[in-house]
Symmetry: C2
């Protein structure tokens, strides 16, 4: 997939600042007219003319968000860009620039940094985002990726978390829970490998869930599709911490409640099979697993006909005037949703 | 100064995500019309109308850029904002928004995070910058501050590193080398304290150099002053890594050389005295110490009269057509400048 094993090792301390920057940034492509000046000065210079500017940051910290024992560096670079792009799509915008703070152990060779940058640049090329700057420094312990994404949106077309209204339908894109099951598979294989380094993992039966963990994609198709369908969502958020917690963000900021239906939540068959194998409920993975980077949004009931035949979307519930967030189980029980999402500060 | 010792300790893991964000962001003031939406959504929303947008990031990593043994958390928050603002002034712009990535050990109590945020918010209030978002997560080891600053500049008024021309004068603001001497004082006091915890340091004789290290300021006065004086610099950069390395950035990107005069470099008397005490040359501190956050820029000779009586500026040399960067010593020797600046990747 993205694997690129390179045996050569160049010591960062011999390279110097100029050499390092040159080496990491030499093949960067600028795709957006809004980028007037990219890498190479005290700041990048952008111009958004009649557009509003969006900005967001999401950190990836070794030992918290990833384990290098099973996370290839190029994938990590790719994912660090994707999770940031996702926040811009969640505003109904388009990501246009990325600036990357990176702290690495000085035991990392240049080639390791290049792999991370290769992943970042691949994501930027695919999503037509310009890599415009950053800060690369050393770290005493552990790898830290701190990208900040800039995007644009037509004024008035932004979608906040606060715009959900009673009666609105709750819609999700894609399927949920796979990234979490992929994480569990990778962690299990890593434990097996540590116990027996001869162990050759066969990840074929888990290809989809593992890819959702190691190489997630952001829903760049959704904002243009919503525009084409003439739908302006009421509220929107990306699903990075699990469906439960994201629904609670929307209802809290909108001053409303929500009811969702367990049997409406889209879950891939491989997620279900893997969850069975791990003896957990696939619903738990979908509600609390996180890292799916799908979009969750609300629409008016009158817009239902515009989406009902679209494979991208699933209607999973509706917004209520009464506060509180509930899940209706297949047995028709009504359970209160809890934000058991992956809370980085609890690890 | 900024010290704010608070004995109470609130466990982050008990607080939850909502509680933490609320606690850190409750008293944030928005000063800029360009901030349409700050903290609280997937991304902040900005509008710069007819201005160009500037963006930059500078990381501060525990054990590399600071040591918590002598760096109070509130100062650290303040400094993390200042070093980022400085990059925007170095473009001849004005910082307008800040977004802060923060990774802390979950052993940190809430009050420690609040101190960091108090420092960030103080800097934002003084510099009229809006704190518009961020990502706070845990870290396995060590504190990481990853702010990204956004600013604005009138199109055409940006000053790049690449605009220096032969014959231009080289100008610096303020004085150099003090922040580095402050660092040496703090490190020495810390060693003394470790050897003898009863030791009460008297930092009075070092007040200025220590303040330059612990509470630096960015030169927000310079872009408006240059405008008032009707000076458009050819090239400009902020002095974060030491004068030598910054001059080399300008000459390399401008395809020129430079000659600077040791006896023209502005150095505070306290820096000189402290350097003597540490038995190092104050010139070394000025050339290679870094963290002064003064501005270095070039102007046309015809503009000399506009600045010659201004206390903010010192002319330290000139740009040459012939490449190479040289220092003329007080003994009239011509030495080649080397970038021995503080290179984070070499630590």
């Amino acid at each position: 997939m993205l694997q690129d094993k390179n045996p050569s090792k160049t010591d960062l301390s011999q390279l110097g600042e100029f050499g390092l920057i040159e080496s990491l940034t030499k093949d960067i492509i600028i795709n957006n007219a809004s980028t007037l000046k990219g890498i190479g000065d005290d700041a990048a210079v952008l111009n958004f003319a009649n557009q509003n500017t969006l900005i967001s940051t999401d950190l990836l910290i070794e030992g918290i968000h990833f384990d290098l024992a099973y996370f290839p560096l190029k994938h990590l670079g790719y994912k660090s860009a994707i999770v940031n792009f996702s926040d811009i799509y969640a505003m109904n915008g388009k990501p246009t620039q990325l600036i990357v703070g990176l702290a690495v152990s000085n035991r990392f060779p240049l080639e390791a940094l290049q792999e991370i940058y290769d992943g970042i640049k691949l994501a930027c090329n695919i999503y037509k985002v310009d890599l415009i700057g950053g800060d690369t420094t050393s770290s005493r312990s552990g790898l830290i990726l701190a990208p900040t994404v800039v995007g644009k949106v037509t004024p008035g077309k932004e979608v906040y978390r606060s715009g959900a209204q009673p009666g609105d339908l709750i819609v999700v894109t894609g399927d949920l829970g796979a990234a979490y099951m992929g994480l569990l598979v990778l962690q299990r294989e890593n434990e097996t490998f540590k116990a027996n380094p001869q162990h050759q993992p066969d990840l074929t039966p888990y290809a989809y869930v593992v890819e959702r963990q190691l190489k997630p994609e952001a829903r760049k198709d959704i904002p243009p599709l919503l525009k084409k369908l003439n739908i302006q969502p009421g509220a929107m958020i990306d699903i990075s911490d699990g469906l439960s917690s994201e629904i609670m963000h929307i209802t809290r900021q909108s001053g409303v409640g929500a009811i969702i239906y367990a049997n409406k939540i889209p879950i891939d068959p491989q997620t279900v099979l893997t969850a069975e194998e791990f003896n957990i409920s696939e619903l738990t993975a979908a509600l609390n697993g996180g890292e799916d980077y799908e979009l969750l949004f609300t629409i008016k009931q009158k817009d239902y006909d515009k989406i009902k035949h679209r494979k991208e979307f699933a209607v999973i519930g509706h917004i209520t005037e009464e506060k509180g967030n509930y899940l209706i189980t297949p047995a028709n029980e009504k359970l209160q949703l809890k934000a058991q999402g992956w809370n980085a500060l609890k690890t």
